[in-house]
Symmetry: D2
Subunit: 242 residues, 4 copies
Amino acid sequence: MKILVNEKGKKFLIGTDDLHTDHGYIKKEEIGSSNPGDVLKTHLGREFRVLKANINDYIELMDRRCSIILPKDLGVMTAYTGLGYGQRVVEAGTGAGAATIFMANVVGETGHVYSYELREDFSQIAEKNVKGFGLENVTLKCQDVVEGIDEEDVDLVFLDLPKPWEVVEHARDALKSGGYLAAYTPYIDQVKLLNRILKKRSFSNLKSLECLVREIEVKDKGVRPKTRMTGHTGYLTFGRKI
Amino acid sequence: MKILVNEKGKKFLIGTDDLHTDHGYIKKEEIGSSNPGDVLKTHLGREFRVLKANINDYIELMDRRCSIILPKDLGVMTAYTGLGYGQRVVEAGTGAGAATIFMANVVGETGHVYSYELREDFSQIAEKNVKGFGLENVTLKCQDVVEGIDEEDVDLVFLDLPKPWEVVEHARDALKSGGYLAAYTPYIDQVKLLNRILKKRSFSNLKSLECLVREIEVKDKGVRPKTRMTGHTGYLTFGRKI
Amino acid sequence: MKILVNEKGKKFLIGTDDLHTDHGYIKKEEIGSSNPGDVLKTHLGREFRVLKANINDYIELMDRRCSIILPKDLGVMTAYTGLGYGQRVVEAGTGAGAATIFMANVVGETGHVYSYELREDFSQIAEKNVKGFGLENVTLKCQDVVEGIDEEDVDLVFLDLPKPWEVVEHARDALKSGGYLAAYTPYIDQVKLLNRILKKRSFSNLKSLECLVREIEVKDKGVRPKTRMTGHTGYLTFGRKI
Amino acid sequence: MKILVNEKGKKFLIGTDDLHTDHGYIKKEEIGSSNPGDVLKTHLGREFRVLKANINDYIELMDRRCSIILPKDLGVMTAYTGLGYGQRVVEAGTGAGAATIFMANVVGETGHVYSYELREDFSQIAEKNVKGFGLENVTLKCQDVVEGIDEEDVDLVFLDLPKPWEVVEHARDALKSGGYLAAYTPYIDQVKLLNRILKKRSFSNLKSLECLVREIEVKDKGVRPKTRMTGHTGYLTFGRKI
Ligand SMILES: C[S@@+](CC[C@H](N)C(=O)[O-])C[C@H]1O[C@@H](n2cnc3c(N)ncnc32)[C@H](O)[C@@H]1O
Ligand SMILES: C[S@@+](CC[C@H](N)C(=O)[O-])C[C@H]1O[C@@H](n2cnc3c(N)ncnc32)[C@H](O)[C@@H]1O
Ligand SMILES: C[S@@+](CC[C@H](N)C(=O)[O-])C[C@H]1O[C@@H](n2cnc3c(N)ncnc32)[C@H](O)[C@@H]1O
Ligand SMILES: C[S@@+](CC[C@H](N)C(=O)[O-])C[C@H]1O[C@@H](n2cnc3c(N)ncnc32)[C@H](O)[C@@H]1O
């Protein structure tokens, strides 16, 4: 999918209509026939560059009505679970679908993401978001994951919901031998309880961690970490079925 | 590929021969006919569980003769560049191939990783490592990347070598519009110089960061971060061709 | 010195006049005869508690026209240099005097702080601030420290100015055997250059570090680090004359 | 008090006897008549420099039989509570006396530290350590602090023991208006419980935090944080009596 970027770096999703901006409009026909790298002009002469949206552009622009998990945490989760092409993943809850889209983009056409969401409104937003990025390897399920996981032999169960411990037993049943459970939780109390249940349910290689990303400011007068940083998002907890 | 895990969690790669361990041997025929999840016994009665190796098991066990980049940094790099299935990636230098294998596992059969390495000995180790994991979407090139990048229209150029700034211009030529350059460097001085050159060569969205992973210890007597942590591995620097 | 704290925790410095607030006034006579712990009422009946100002209350309320160094960095500096009662300290630049007041409060009546400041306006603000807290062990000097340090046999030279390397030689002359130089600098480039000069001038036990303070949020629904934190203030560099 | 430093920077406490080292001995008379800055030679010709011990030298060399709190945490505690000369402090437990000595060195001759310790063996070690540094403003009490605090009107109650919440009420009684309670605890579970009790006992300005110190390596080939760092020591919790 294509997006347009103005001179200041602001990004615009392209729909099926003309693009109207503060600096003039661009006709849908012109947008339709453009290619990534092209520069289009509004009727007022302002330049917009055509870009093939990558997944981060898209997640930035899509409809997000609940708080989404940040790229840093998805990246570390991916690396620690060995997520890769062809894998089958179960997720709960879907929320706006940021993690869903990220994981679907990694497991690819030969893999699949099954995502459970309790609330119908979120499930619908996620549906729109997943479709909008053109992903066909996702099944969204408006179901309570605590009542059960339909899938079997999956590589990863990823949980971003308030009480992940309620899903541990279902996750164990759904996972293949060697598969991972990964959970994202903001509170340390959740980490504690989840670890207790994972242990009880014989998960191996338990690990809990937090990932801090610190940006570096490179200016002419010197290099230094940025003054402001995100001090906390959530903890990641991992267990493996062996 | 299969691996064996003993009662203490130690992992063993399986070759074409019998497995000999401190606690007895297991016949190759028995190993050959086993399935993930099975438990095999040595002639001394010790149990080994059969596991389908995932990428982290494999990288842990493979031949690594140079320092490899850690999962946390590969994960954050993946998330920030939107790496996904079907993408084409250029990498330099290959080293032992840890990043190569990680990225090949993400881009999948419809994607490809082209990896440049100056030293023939490393290139050969990497070849063995890549083949050993059964990846067919990798091309290893024993070439100096400073002399040029043969590929075009790639999604990502990933650099883990001492002077990434020498490759910026070639990277720009090789990248498609919207593609990313990502570099991993241990020293802040490298971050500074690389940013200068990326700016000069008109890369956009420049960002440099460090990723810190802190493990949490969950014990009966209480929860706390671990006493020891890795204080630094390297900085990640990103630029986008727009 | 006394301050008043309203019901919301807001603090007020007491001058020589009546205190006028949004919630009514309190007469100067009443303030004058009050003791720490007392509760005074405005003519509108709102309560203000009398508190003996500690150093942090005071620094919070005083006139600060330049950026001041944070308590965390002063605390770590104190601990790493073994600052204590009776010591003699040279400081540059004074700025608004936050570090001056902090150090004077530690070295006490038997110690002394000599503080150099280039700009007369800052020196005057600092004078007002130091006097206001009732400290008599401080000498403020409106002098360029690069032109020389008048004192000898001091325990600590503390530098918070852009080019601390210009002062290294003077600091060495001023320090007693076993004394410390400590410098606070925002940029890593400054750390690099300062270390080079400290080495050249035979300082021992060189150490550079950064101190990160992360607040923990303790709420009924759970415990977690705060979402926002200060990602960077400055680096501390230490050298010892041996 | 004097110490000797050999050519490699190793430090030696001086007793009342000759100093015997791997590189020869130095006579007690020679040591006795030396001054800080002097260089003494062993009978084998190796050089030892005389240094006036500062508090960190001393704590490094003294007898420490239990785990002591690190300078970074003492420094931040000092800064956040506004510890300074002339203040009166209650501490529990004493342990080997590292925090005791640090605080006594700050409050000075006009201040005082009263330190409670349950175990007689620790109390005796602490006694030796405190005396050894020549401090006369410390009272060590071999008493269970849970049974009560004898002092009144103190500026700070500092707690480094497993169940600080058992001391909150006594601390409140002992503190003057505006005074601080500060506690150091390794586990987050302790932070949680302590905050609950502090709230219940009407302490104000509750704050819990952790302090991370990260060393920077400045070498010719570049600048970078050190590979290894201390990931956790303990949390600091503060409350104020207002
Ligand atoms: C924080 S959001 C997930 C955000 C998502 N990871 C993202 O990045 O966009 C948590 C979601 O879990 C859903 N949820 C909570 N309990 C659930 C359950 N038992 N089964 C399915 N979904 C549930 C909530 O409705 C909410 O949408
Ligand atoms: C730190 S290692 C890479 C490790 C690798 N990322 C991994 O995780 O296994 C850096 C490698 O870059 C190679 N290298 C250095 N300069 C190069 C150049 N100009 N062209 C190709 N390879 C180069 C070195 O020989 C070395 O093997
Ligand atoms: C960042 S401020 C110091 C703030 C101070 N540490 C505090 O916490 O309030 C730096 C000060 O150094 C002063 N300064 C810069 N160069 C100086 C010099 N060569 N001699 C004396 N003061 C100098 C500046 O005028 C400025 O007021
Ligand atoms: C971790 S150590 C203190 C170390 C000390 N802060 C230092 O830096 O050297 C804790 C001490 O508290 C003492 N302690 C525990 N409970 C106590 C109590 N109720 N009253 C007095 N001391 C107690 C223990 O015996 C132990 O020596």
